[in-house]
Symmetry: D2
Subunit: 339 residues, 4 copies
């Protein structure tokens, strides 16, 4: 494909806005052509035009019908993702779809089938693979610096829990939150998960428990290559967004620590103190969001494989569903029991 | 009890020697009275006399019969611990027993019963509770600095695996190695373990697998107070002895990092590098070994409770047996299923 | 001033390009109107047009004559800075001038007089004041966290020396390199330098010595408020760009450590290693360059004082000249001996 | 010399007690034979006997006359050091003398002459050379890891100032406090100081100023090998004893950070905090005090050179006197101007 990748963004909520601005400002190889949002407001419209969007509409089909759009970024509400993928694929657009594609295997399979039939590319928004720290860990592993991977350990804690009402429709902690960590674990292990065991508790907000979910969870994983994994999640870390990864292998161990706003240490009569981690995902993964989009743009323009495929999204979902089942039945669950 | 605590050491292997020297050199409130070892050699004898021991013998009963000995330190081979405890209790001696008391619940129960009947004190050698880092974490929790404990995470990796022949008689990774971490987890959580799930793999030495054990393991725990825990063990970390503890709670997170021989960082064209962790337990827990003995001595002299009781040893064993069963049956196991 | 600040850039070398791109991409309150460079090439021209510049010219006077330009960024060669300031001031443009304004007091005074007469604003490009780490240190001091400042310590080392030919015309290490640190020292101390003592040596490149300069230097400072300061410079640190600041006061000490590309630590049988510092000033001060320009734009638009004034540039120069004299005469030199 | 080194301690103040206990408990190659203190109290006597001292006396000459004493540790008041060295040398005893030998060059020279004439060994108590961190830095330099040394930077700050009355008789900050750092600088540079420039201020306690001294000082050094050095001292760091060393060379930079009581980090809503440095020299240099004594004992027993000689003490004094002169005259002072 010659020239710039011409992109339409579907859905202009928080994450849609972020992607639209990143495309407009930071990705010279792409051009923001249009923005569609069913709730388009005058404010949103003026924002969109300020970014240089040619098409600003409430009607997604107008965007999909535009022949000068090569690719779409799907950032609409989660329950519409799979349908949007199918529509976009049928319209011949390359697709970047926010995670999750869907909470059910059937709809994800249908979406992937449509993508395959249309021979378009599809990338899923697991942005953390592009984080400078986690990517460095993976590069060290690929360079042989940790030897054979034996354990992958992920700490992933949010600064504050979502409202219980959100939790109720989110698919629960494993499909909404830990799914990022399942993707990270697969990425770091370089292998597929074959078995899962989940433990969970309601320790932060009883309303989350009433909504049928847990807010604290530890999941162990077995990978096809024999390695083990463990992920811990908390919906609320008093000190902010705690995002660490450790890969342990036969030759060593690579550990990614949190990013902080500054490196400054203050020593006084109480001790030596430094910054908390970056507050939340928009701060911590600011550059990762740009880099995942650059990777998508270059994969399409250069005809390469996307770095996080629809199949990755499917496999992450299967691990999440297995974890959910494991917690419900208090036993280890094999991935091949799902779907 | 007035004056110094007069101590006899039973078993003069590596750990017996360490305790004897610590008592002789670093604990003014104690006096090393005697050393018994069934394999007493001339070298051992001259070493023992150099430490000022009055009784140096192959015959444990001579030590136990001595009226001027108040307490014994049991460091003989693991399979003799429980019997020695019974004999020492019957002789009216206070007891410090190296871990584990025994690998079976029945023998531990018998030993504890003898101790109870004799109204002597008994401390078990879980030295890590006295480590300056781990103790500081616990003190922070007790001071309310992490709030309610929600997760306890322990990383515990050895620098090199033992011979497979040792593994075969050791009781396996859960009773030989991770039992230290079960004790630490209970100590840090301030609560008893109620359920365990173990995952394991043979990734380091196939001979360990042939001996019926794993060399890499991840265990999740549920505590009576609702908190969750996770421990990972590896028999071989290329960079040495990796001993870290993290306690996460409603108000914050306390993390103990490894100790290193120096604080020096070298910056050159390859990066910024520092020391590996202290090589192994004798280096890392050097002061902890002294401090556990001081605590035992002062508990006896001042008539206080010992900080790590025989009951602690029993409970750690139960968790270890549950982990073993969990791995064998690939399911979560409740502690009350054991014994 | 209403609307966006309309900016012309004078000089499109490395730093001019950087400022032009920052204005075009990252500062919504500013608009890049024109770029002038006496060496304008077709490549430069197409780059400038790609950034949306309306005027692309070899003729600075065309830029200065344009009524729709409110401010200029002076990035031409150092020896032209002072003249450009005078011309721009006479044209009624607000001025952002790269450091140094000039290497002589007379020309700087003339430039400042022109700025004053024209009642335009002028900011000097001491970008490091905007670094996230150093700014945090200053904020801590202003918040009273270090108490009264007693010492300011600055480590500032480059990854590689410039060619000796450059050194010969640069004004030497004190006016070319350490002048940044003199500005930082004054900023952190919140006080003016009253006396300087410089020590130096040629330890890296004998050609620098032949050019009449040193490549390694340590300078001590006395501030008007009684505090002491020390700066060390090296033209070549094997591990890259070493930029650290420490402010020590009656209540504590704030230390800014280097930034690194990632937080990843690799533990293996050789030790525990991490990244070198960010390679050089373009990487380390990437955001600081944007933030200094934002501050200039907002100072002009909102009629506020600029954060780094022409007077700051003059005072930094005086300290640099005093350091040069101190080294030459091997004695302490008072600032009031200069100029 | 065969067998153990038989040692008498002269002066049982804080530091004398420390050495006596270290010899009694931690140095198997030495034997504590006697303790002399002109102020011997019953308490001191019972403490000395508890350590196994055969001779406990108010009369130093009794100790020096004892034929079964091979070496003495001089820990009497500073003004008696040089005389004690002469007496001990004449008595044929090997000598470990606390720093400083004396505050005047004449008396130090006389003491060194007596030592030379008696052909005994003499070590001066610059214990910091034996610190695990600083020794590691030196070993890295000797192993070529930093390349040619270009700069030595030392930060040395006390947790609390001494009373002004002490300051008045101490010889001042350069002879009392920074002399340790002059010794460290010479040790790390592997070269002699040839020129000194001192800056100082009274920022902590006006009474120190009235006593004719400063409480805050920065000194730059030139070494014979061309390297530069800088030392900063403060009599009061709010966060405790700050003892850091940095050696910068052509291939890299080795930095020794402070030691802390634990490695624990607490993350909460205020930030991430850790321990202050070890409180003061008794804590920080606990092992260094033992290691310097071991080195003395083994140098005498094995007929090797002592690691810190009387000549080192003399050279450190000359640097201190030059610094004092530099501050008084506000100019650079060459070492060969002194003495």
């Amino acid at each position: 494909m010659a020239g710039k990748l011409r992109i339409g963004v579907i859905g202009a909520g928080r994450i849609g806005k972020l992607h639209a601005e990143n495309i407009a400002y930071f990705i010279p190889q792409a051009k923001l052509e249009g923005i569609a949002d069913v709730m388009m407001t005058p404010d949103m419209e003026s924002w969109a035009k300020g970014l240089g969007a040619r098409i600003v509409t409430k009607d997604v089909s107008a965007l999909l019908a535009d022949k000068d759009i090569d690719a779409v970024i799907i950032c609409s509400s989660t329950d519409t993702h799979a349908d949007m993928v199918v529509l976009a694929a049928k319209a011949g657009k390359h697709i970047f779809c926010e995670k999750p594609v869907d909470l059910t295997v059937a709809k994800v399979n249908a979406a992937l089938a449509a993508v395959k039939a249309a021979k378009v590319k599809m990338q899923v928004g697991f942005n953390r693979r592009f984080d400078h720290n986690f990517r460095t860990v993976r590069e060290m592993t690929l360079a042989g610096k940790v030897g054979d991977v034996q354990m992958v350990k992920i700490t992933s804690r949010d600064p504050a829990p979502p409202p219980a009402t959100y939790v109720a429709v989110s698919g629960g902690i494993f499909l909404d939150m830990m799914i990022h960590d399942f993707d990270m674990a697969r990425f770091q292990a370089g292998s597929e998960v074959v078995e899962v065991h989940a433990t969970g508790a309601v320790l932060i907000d009883p309303a989350i428990g009433k909504a049928g979910d847990v807010d604290t969870a530890i999941v162990t994983l077995k990978f096809a290559n024999g390695a083990l994994g463990v992920i811990d999640n908390s919906r609320k870390a008093a000190y902010g967004y705690d995002q660490r990864v450790e890969v342990f292998g036969s030759k060593g161990c690579a550990q990614a620590e949190n990013d902080t706003p500054s490196t400054v240490k203050l020593s006084n009569d109480e001790g030596v103190s430094g910054d908390k981690p970056m507050y939340f995902f928009l701060e911590r993964y600011k550059t990762a969001f740009i880099d995942e989009m650059k990777a998508f743009v270059s994969a399409v323009l250069e005809g390469k494989d996307v770095p996080v495929s629809g199949e990755d999204g499917l496999r992450d979902l299967l691990v999440g569903l297995a974890a959910k089942k494991s917690l419900a039945e208090n036993r280890s669950v094999r991935i091949d029991e799902i779907g």
